[in-house]
Symmetry: C2
């Protein structure tokens, strides 16, 4: 698939349908931009009312062109788009870029018009970008085939950053901001309503494109969740970090995401689960998107040991340390020899010689360079961040660049200031030294480099691991959608390796008392019924029954409740003591089944203290999930309580994942809430279970 995008982004000839002869009108932008940046291919303006546009011969229609163009740009009003696309199909033009808006992002009629376009393209095997986007900019091959004003920028800077954006306007913002910082771009593709090319396909392309080393993504909603996950995984495999600005976090945002490019924004939680699994850097502003992705497109060495910080202001020093520590980046003490060297170099008033080293603003440029080189030489650190506040500072910038180029480790700058610092920053940008405008972004970029390096090596071993986890294949139950009976669900769960507490399903008080004696007191009694998911509220639960008498009285009471719910019977279980963990699987409409882990009881709901991962998962990911849930800190033992049986819990969660894997498309929802985890060596026991299947479409 990615190969078709390589060809698409580098057409040898382009027909521009809807290009006005008045070049001051917006519609002329693609023509002007192609000419301005020296597009090497043929440009064919198509306009029935003019014979020449912008110094080029214009043609009345596509059929009149002297050759079949590689691509057609469709910039005509909405009503005329189908006819242009049909003509292009008839002429077997392989690629079309549809600027026009007013399709799937609007209403039912718009969606119908969009489906009609899709049918034309599909029938002809045509590759389509759009509709409702602003085109693409291929910087290496000088193809700014775009309506975005970013195409009119003075100079395209070819480089290693790939940009994919559903919104054409936002894609243009990213290009403009990247070029402002001298960050080279391989290509920017805006995908709009995505009837053909999606952002996932762009990621596939960038993964294989040898000129791209990192990718910036601005997305409203992912339409092809499975393909997206695979493409992001491929980027991870090929060592190309993906930095994403995901829009549509709020309900109003999602409302507009639906109407805008017709994307289903999905729940933001599902997106975050995917981002965590695939080591996608989730950012919130354009500054972060551009500076972090730009940094990663040029620098991949990871600050594993720690960061050495050199500043010219105490305030900057504190700000920088704050942000690095917030991201878990260590600031190790410098070695004794560095300390001695700094003491020899520095005047009396610059006494903060530890990490961060604050030399104040008074040093000469030559001395500052020496100090920087000294810090760079310290073997305890593998990255140097220098946070400076001086104004202008062209000489400072040149010296820093010299040290950075000679260094065997990354040297990055954080330059705090306003317009007075522009000249210095511009020198660093030109020299290719990473320079951030604020310590928060600098810390984010360094942490991303560290995390990506770790994720990449873990990813390499991942597929084999989850395959092993899922090896024990289950025969799935008969396809009957809806909630399963407890007995059916329990049988499946046991086969998947979910450790159910010892239990008995009974129908009378006497049978309950007998079962309790066999299982051992104290016991729990529950009404088991398909349409009774929340037992506590319904009064369908009796805890801590200590004698046969208590059991049989409680059973009598519960059986009255049971009659209201077409119950299967009463479940008798021994009381299990330990930490309660909620485990479940839910199906996200975009990204498919997600494993959810949280604290049991009301905390998961009340605190939202849960985490999720798309299935399948590895054991390592299950462990990581347990660390992410703050309330599950109790598993490590707390306030005198013993540490819990985490290995048993992980095995139980793996069982849940295995059951979900076996059910595949047929799984609607699975709740194992709670799993009760005893002290180490005492096991983990699922004490309740709810499993719902769904109808699966015949394929």
């Amino acid at each position: 698939m990615s190969s078709r995008l390589a060809a698409f982004l580098n057409p040898r000839s382009v027909a521009l349908v809807g290009c006005p002869s008045d070049l001051t009108r917006p519609g002329a932008r693609p023509l002007l931009y192609l000419q301005k940046h020296g597009y090497p291919g043929q440009i064919y303006p198509v306009n029935p009312r003019h014979a020449e546009i912008g110094g080029l011969r214009a043609y009345p229609s596509l059929a009149d062109l002297p050759e079949r163009p590689d691509a057609v740009w469709v910039g005509v009003p909405g009503g005329d788009v189908p006819a242009v696309l049909e003509e292009a199909a008839r002429l077997k033009i392989p690629n079309a870029i549809i600027l026009t808006a007013g399709f799937g992002e609007t209403d039912a009629a718009g969606r119908a018009r969009q489906e009609a376009l899709r049918a034309i393209a599909d029938a002809a095997g045509m590759t389509v970008l759009g509709p409702n986007m602003l085109g693409f900019i291929n910087c290496w091959d000088r193809v700014p085939l775009t309506f975005s004003p970013a195409g009119g920028i003075d100079r395209l800077i070819p480089g290693a950053l790939g940009i994919a954006s559903q919104s054409g306007a936002l894609g243009g913002v990213v290009v403009n901001r990247a070029f402002d910082r001298m960050i080279g771009v391989s290509a920017m593709v805006s995908t709009g309503n995505e009837i053909g090319i999606t952002v996932s396909e762009c990621l596939e392309y960038f993964a294989e494109d040898p000129r791209t080393r990192a990718v910036a993504l601005a997305a409203e909603g992912i339409r092809d969740g499975e393909r997206f996950k695979a493409a992001a995984g491929r980027l991870l495999e090929t060592g190309k970090p993906l930095v994403a600005l995901k829009l549509g976090r709020s309900s109003a945002g999602r409302r507009n995401a639906l109407t805008h490019t017709g994307a289903l924004a999905g729940s933001h939680e599902a997106w975050r689960a995917v981002a965590r699994q695939l080591s996608i850097v989730d950012v919130e502003t354009f500054e972060e998107l551009v500076e972090v992705a730009g940094f990663l497109s040029r620098e991949r060495r990871s600050p594993r040991r720690g960061v050495g910080v050199l500043t010219t202001s105490g305030g900057a020093s504190i700000m920088t340390a704050d942000q690095l520590e917030a991201r878990g980046l260590a600031l190790p003490r410098l070695s004794a020899s560095t300390g001695r060297a700094l003491a020899a170099l520095l005047p009396e008033y610059a006494v903060t010689r530890d990490n961060p080293v604050d030399v104040t603003a008074g040093l000469s440029e030559a001395l500052f360079e020496q100090v920087l080189a000294t810090v760079v030489g310290d073997e305890r650190i593998d990255t140097v961040l220098t946070a400076v506040t001086g104004a202008r500072g062209v000489e400072r910038a040149r010296n820093v660049a010299r040290v950075a180029h000679a260094a065997d480790k990354p040297v990055v700058v954080c330059w705090l200031g306003g317009s007075l610092t522009d000249a210095g920053i511009s020198v660093l940008d030109t020299e290719g030294v990473a320079c951030f405008r604020n310590p928060r972004t600098a810390a984010l970029a360094l942490a991303a480099a560290r995390d990506f390096a770790a994720a990449q090596s873990a990813w390499a071993r991942r597929n084999a691991r989850w395959a092993a986890l899922e090896r024990a294949r289950l025969r799935p139950p008969a396809a009957r959608p809806g909630p399963l009976s407890y007995a059916e669900a329990a049988a499946l769960a046991r086969r998947a390796g979910i450790p159910l507490a010892p239990e008995a399903l009974v129908a009378t008080p006497a049978a309950a008392a007998r079962a309790a004696r066999r299982l051992g007191f104290p016991v729990v009694l529950k009404v088991v019924a398909r349409d009774l998911p929340h037992k506590t509220e319904a009064g369908a639960l009796a805890l801590n029954l200590r004698t046969a008498d208590e059991v049989s009285r409680a059973a009598g009471r519960l059986l009255t409740t049971a009659r209201r719910y077409r119950a299967e019977g009463l479940l008798v279980q021994p009381m299990v003591d330990g930490v309660e963990v909620l485990v479940g699987v839910t199906r996200d409409p975009t990204f498919g089944p997600l494993l959810v882990v949280g604290a049991g009881g009301v905390q998961a709901e009340l605190l939202g203290d849960t985490t999720a991962r798309p299935l399948p998962v590895t054991r390592g990911e299950i462990l990581a999930m347990l660390r992410e849930v703050r309330s599950l800190g109790v598993l490590r033992g707390f306030r005198g309580a013993p540490a819990a049986d985490v290995p048993a819990l992980v095995a139980a969660i793996a069982g849940v994942a295995r059951l979900a894997g076996a059910l595949g498309e047929r799984l609607q929802a699975l709740d194992v809430n709670p799993i009760v985890v005893g002290a180490r060596g005492r096991g983990a026991w699922a004490v309740d279970l709810l499993l719902e299947t769904r109808p699966v479409a015949v394929r």
Copy 2:
């Protein structure tokens, strides 16, 4: 106090000690800056080796000046500072600004040198700024008496934003960034090591300064917590929002805060408690500091009803809605009449006519202006945010400014883009229309305006309220520092109105059983001892005892434990059922006593799910605190559990605040953990108590 700063910032004459004759050297900056911006007073360079500097007559020493200057700038090496200051004291020069670093921010010797300076100044009644700062810039009166390169900016822009910063470098960054956006500044004061003027005094000054309407603060650590709180309160009273970039959040950051300007950074939690109480806008970046404070210095109308959003890009529309909703800003549906007006104006493809209204990029400038005016006219919204992405857009900017100036509600802009948007943004900046570079900052500013309006009206009634809360004055216990006995603490707590559970302190198993019968089963037994704060871990607790027999056996067991701890005895309490709430008072070294509220049990510690406020507090603040603790959502009733007795809980917490108030300086720590809150009407009961006093210095 503020009057001395008004005079300090506007000296009629300034002596510059340490001014070099070579004007290219950094030391000449104050002279150059004063001359450049037309300082109207007398400038006296003091330099024994030159008779003329920068076209001005230079003098060998302060004693040789033709008059006693209002202020002396001390820019000499560290060793020479005391002599200069002594001479200034002898000459009764009232004000000194000490640039030189190498004092309290370094080591013990530096701190001693600093104390020597303080002694000189105090003896002479001299007002000192510094040492270790970069001076101040008084824009209205043209006094850029500073070493900061921001003093060399092309043009000072007098305006309504006051800036206080301990770090001179960061103060300069704020000034530079404000001027870049045409945000006028009343004055910037950098305070450094603060042997005289502190940031708190700057806030007092800005509160009374009629030219200042909002304040931006960059602070590493507050030295005078009580004064700071009072000054921030005064800003609230005078209707001037305070926006703060607080440094020193991390441990490495604090380490450097200690060495940098010698400030105690304090715990960041205490800072956050103060910020919440005083409605200080807590920001994290310079962009936020400048754009939010700049906005508030010019605009104070609050978006109470809701924000109308108009965008030219679906992506921008979603980003904007995301951020507004994240800050709780409503985007109401527009009225039917606005809908009809928009439908009449807009072309077919711009169909997103609800809020946000997305008109896409294709509209003419004239039409865009009409649409904007239409949205502005909607009576359902009281603020309009237009998020645009077009490049350059000078015409667009002029039109927006015209609509904004004519509007009866705030019209603000968020312009997404890079350098291509600079020209348009510059027009808005010049026209005084608030323009943000990213939706996150725009939302932060609008939310700050809303919150400040609410806080201001609440503040007006606050003092009367907490006075009422504390009216019941207690006779504090004898001044004996250390943990009080349980009996002493309980007696005080009862008098303060803290509802203790019914209880009996006993010494034998038989007495325990008798007490239990009287109190009613089931009961709890605890060992009560001063040196046993954590009973669960020590096995000093027996829960849920149901019979006299169980009580007396447990009492026997606990008495064995008790002997290890010099216990006062065993406490018998009936089991109380309900939601457990942790309440306590801790003493922050900077800001004094803080009331802390969190979920009881392990959650407060494990989740850090607590909140705090400096004492005193009002009942309204106690209710706000209960809302801030997420786990305490259970108080509202949850999953079938009944709503808890919140009024009783608030009364109990008010009792804790009252007890802390009565103990005043003598309070070291107070833990009421937990208070158990029953269902509505069932009360709230403190079931454990720990009170520690401290010695109080004689004043």
